[in-house]
Symmetry: C2
Subunit: 354 residues, 2 copies
Amino acid sequence: MNRPDLDPRTQDILRQTVHTFIAFGDPVGSRTLAKLNAQGLSPATIRNIMSDLEEQGYLFQPHTSAGRVPTDKGYRFYVSTVMDGSGLSFAERQMIAGSLKQSGGDVEGLLQETSHLLASMTDMVSFVTGPNIQQSTLKRIDFVKLSPRRVLVVLVSETAQVVNRVVELPEDFSGDELERSARYLNAEFQGFTLSEAREILLLRLREERALYDRVVKSALTLGQAAFAENTTSSDVYLEGTSRMLKKPEFSSNIQRAQQLFATLEEKNRLLNILNACLEGSGLQIIIGSEARVPDLEGISLIAASYRFMDRELGSVGIMGPTRMEYAKFISVVDYIARSLSDTISQTAGRPLDV
Amino acid sequence: MNRPDLDPRTQDILRQTVHTFIAFGDPVGSRTLAKLNAQGLSPATIRNIMSDLEEQGYLFQPHTSAGRVPTDKGYRFYVSTVMDGSGLSFAERQMIAGSLKQSGGDVEGLLQETSHLLASMTDMVSFVTGPNIQQSTLKRIDFVKLSPRRVLVVLVSETAQVVNRVVELPEDFSGDELERSARYLNAEFQGFTLSEAREILLLRLREERALYDRVVKSALTLGQAAFAENTTSSDVYLEGTSRMLKKPEFSSNIQRAQQLFATLEEKNRLLNILNACLEGSGLQIIIGSEARVPDLEGISLIAASYRFMDRELGSVGIMGPTRMEYAKFISVVDYIARSLSDTISQTAGRPLDV
DNA sequence: CTTAGCACTCATGCGGCGAGAGTGCTAAAG
DNA sequence: CTTTAGCACTCTCGCCGCATGAGTGCTAAG
């Protein structure tokens, strides 16, 4: 990139332009900036600088006689320099910790509460992606017979998440067989992730082609069905979508709002988008077009992953118009992600005390 | 009500007014109606009739020189007379049956698919309220120990629904105790609804105040926690909310849209509203202000209950602007509710074949 | 009772106009 | 060479007035 490294004063102007645009929402002009600017530059000077910044793609003029508005590149610059993370007040931290702590012991409730917190603290759309079941470690498996060939599989993960699905079996199983199989699978695979379990299972099925033990055989058959890859877990906790209609960016452009809402409604597609965007770990900020997804034009994401026992479980974050209070929200997302990780390890923790 | 029983011709005019307003969305005038009207009345005559209808509260003029628009009372009349239920085409019926059949065996998936069907066939917001867990019959209960005093309770209902919650216990329980208790509770309460189970449990606890049997005692304690009344099940399947933004009623009035969306987002409140509105059983149509809930101003509901083994499980339905194609949608909702009931009894059926 | 005719009302869309904001350029000042 | 003041220019936005057209209510005739 031909970034001729902006000189400090120019950087200052850019920063302030973005900052005041975020604060007020209308294009900011040289005069406005001159008033705010401590260095006491005249509007004319600032105009020249802004003109340069426009040439370099940091700013953009909606029309000739309007002020300037940041481009995505401008926002990116702003975020990368202002990201000092103004931090949260003590009261805010306390509130976050408190809300998470008291939201009961089950992960689902916790994630929902997290989503709620994020939305209410930022007034944006919040999202929390649930742990990927395939990567969860198994704590318990159970079978409930529905009809001779239809069985309800109930999986409980280390983090007390419960997944259930109905599987169609190739042959009849008696209630007794189911129970034995469950016992066997519990004994063998507790502590493994589902995908690990699946692999081991496949190996064994191949090895012991001539299965003498009837119990083992049915257990393996059932296990295969239970750990199947298509065990979907498209759970995303969303909150605050309705808030977007209050944002001028959307209330003046219903088309856009409609499109966004449609995307948010398709949970599966949304999850794909989020996963694609948030491939790296740690705190991520994606500004407008940086995500190569047309659905997210004009929208920024701030996300962070949460973890348990050094394993990444999922992401929490917010999304909203590119014009948002990055400095503040980055702190919020970051802190909430950390708190969530802590809370999970505190409640779901003590992994082997059965 | 002082309804001076409209004479047939007047009824005709009213019906047609509502009908064409539903079709086109703009206030309908006497001239338009004269053209459509088979009886060949002149605009002037129609004007007189419409004027009468306005006096009686069936129609309403947005402003002096506009056509007429139905009031809620007008819609109500329309619905009550046109409700012959034009019925669905063979292809439509087939599609409904097919979609439901192939949507897998678990109730949750089924309800979601139902919601999807409703939304896509009507282009409105669809809702499906899940079975009230308290009224579900128990098929299986399981305990998973998380820590000495925290236990995950997994309940499976006759309809293969799974509910889980974490309970905090007053004293420690060993893994063995949990297992015994589960066995006991399964033996005792299978086939009862949760609320029945709770009552019986309370009775026993009172009767056998001096509990000699340690197993029974811990089982009852655990059962009490498991069947507690606050076992929430605020599951509503919503779909198609984003479609509302395409409706002129909302895209021209974002305030309203915002309010509606906020209501839809608060699942708990929404569930309360729905329950309050849909107290009766069978097919229900609620038009705008008839629901005494300010959140639903300008919105109509068409809902029907679905059932399993003569027990009402929940409701399915749609909601959208009062201006909607009642005749068509009533058929859709009605037929889908029936199909859903059928599908549930077919898949979850055969209640005691464990 | 129905209908034709007519005056009246009112929302809507369009063109023009002035105000205001902000720019770019030029020339002078530091 | 950089900064600044001055000035002409551009463009949006809101407002006004006007013409238009749809639709009504009323009246009088069929």
